[in-house]
Amino acid sequence: MKRIFGVAAALVFILVLPLVIRDRYILHLLTMSGIAAFLSIGITLLLGVAGQVSLGQAGFYAVGAYASALLTTRLGWPFWLALPAAGTAAAGAALTLGPVFHLRGHFLAVATVAFAEIVRLVLLNWSNVTNGPRGIVGIPPPQFGSWVLDSVSTYYYLVLTLLCGALWIGVGLRRGRLGRAWRALGGNPEAAEASGVPVMKLKALAFGLAAFAAGLAGSLYAHLVGFVSPHTFTFEESVRILAMAVLGGLGSFSGGVGGAVALTLLPELLRAFEQYRLLILSALILVILIFFPRGLAGLWEGRGRNDG
């Protein structure tokens, strides 16, 4: 009961924010936080539930962003078709990793780094499609008939609605038999296989879903900013995405969202400290993880299992 109240209060707070905050820049940052949350809840599912490390989420993020940018600017697709297409393209890219899914732990993580690097190099060098390092400009905002969603607050609500859907799906998946099987194979793939669990397929499915979420994030990013270039999708971005989920408390979806907001807002709020910015940010993350080993989720979920 207390918990439902907490969720409702948080939701009301999030809903009225754009009415209170008039600063477009801060609203933009909050919207970016929501987009980052897609990336982070993908990792929550992949690492927090299925126990698979990816250090290449920026690669899937990039595939989604470019897919959406190209489909709308070159082929004139509407945003509403380009968005699911971006997710699908990223999930499809994840499935090309199929041959390395039998690798475990760190080996698989290194393979995902290599994948993201390949994506970045393709975007940089395949100039006649991607426009190389100059990127793609003039990506249109979403449109409903004649209503163009070009204000930050409308975009904020768009991202929020989609995010609620993604969270609902994520929590449902974790609770069901897929979640059970993912947790089993993450802890002990051989015993999971001996229990009849198709380990390789479920690993691929977890990667595919995390990539799908990253692809949606890419599309939302592209249509918010109106411009994409390879410089956004670096290894540092992959690390930041992983850090969001870890800071939030691995395995907790609400924690993952919290981590995404923290690691989007904090770097901006700390701009005043200039060269000490990264130092303060890193120290802050360490302090949180030392005092709250279960991450931000530990702050609001108290003791016991992560299930938010």
């Binding site: 059970r180 089993a184 198709p198 479920l202």
Partner: protein, 254 residues
Amino acid sequence: MADPFFEVRELTVRFDGVTALDRVSLSVSSGEIRGLIGPNGAGKTTLFRTIAGLVRPKTGSIFFGGRSILGLSPHHIVGRGVARTFQANQPFPGLTVREHLRVGADGWGRGAVGALFLRPDRTEEARLRKEADQLLEFLGLDPVADQLASELPYGLQRLTELGRALATRPRLLLLDEPAAGLRPEERRALAERLRALQGRGLTLLLVEHQMPLVMNLCRRITVLHGGRFLAEGSPEVIQQHPEVRLAYLGREAQ
């Protein structure tokens, strides 16, 4: 003659030039508890791993219920009705005992992507829940059903391991030293449960070092030695078999 229920023919397995199994054949009838013994390095666990689809044999064939299961992936072999328990307890971290059974019971017939879009309906879910409850009760695990398996004492973890395999509804169960590390009273309870499973029509292939347990449960015993078939027969015949005694006791004992 009808096909035997489970049959291994001329199985040869080599690892980097070392022959782990050398033309091993074995035939088990339905409802039997077959003992599989042999000194360390005899190839018992390798045979299990090969049957379970984790090791590719150089030559030979494996038939279950008249169909070849060779070359199927491990989870498909489980789906066909051949399950195994591990020599060492391997609880899933973070999963309760009940969840261990559910991992085995949840079928994947509709595939991984199917599971994403199709949820088991209410009656299916209720059936799976009830089956898990019955299995928990059969194993005496109901009092600890909602505890993390990794935090249970050894004997209860051993039972969880058995339950995980049984939850897949096997027709043939490969047991790799199920009594290892159990206390005498736990061992007796295990023997009773294995007999009860046989009574329900389950066929068991039992690797075990606890000789009294094997002699008590099995009417036929197969002996492997150095990756080769050595002998097969009733417990009395095996106990008296000169080559088996030699293999176990070494030359000095003669």
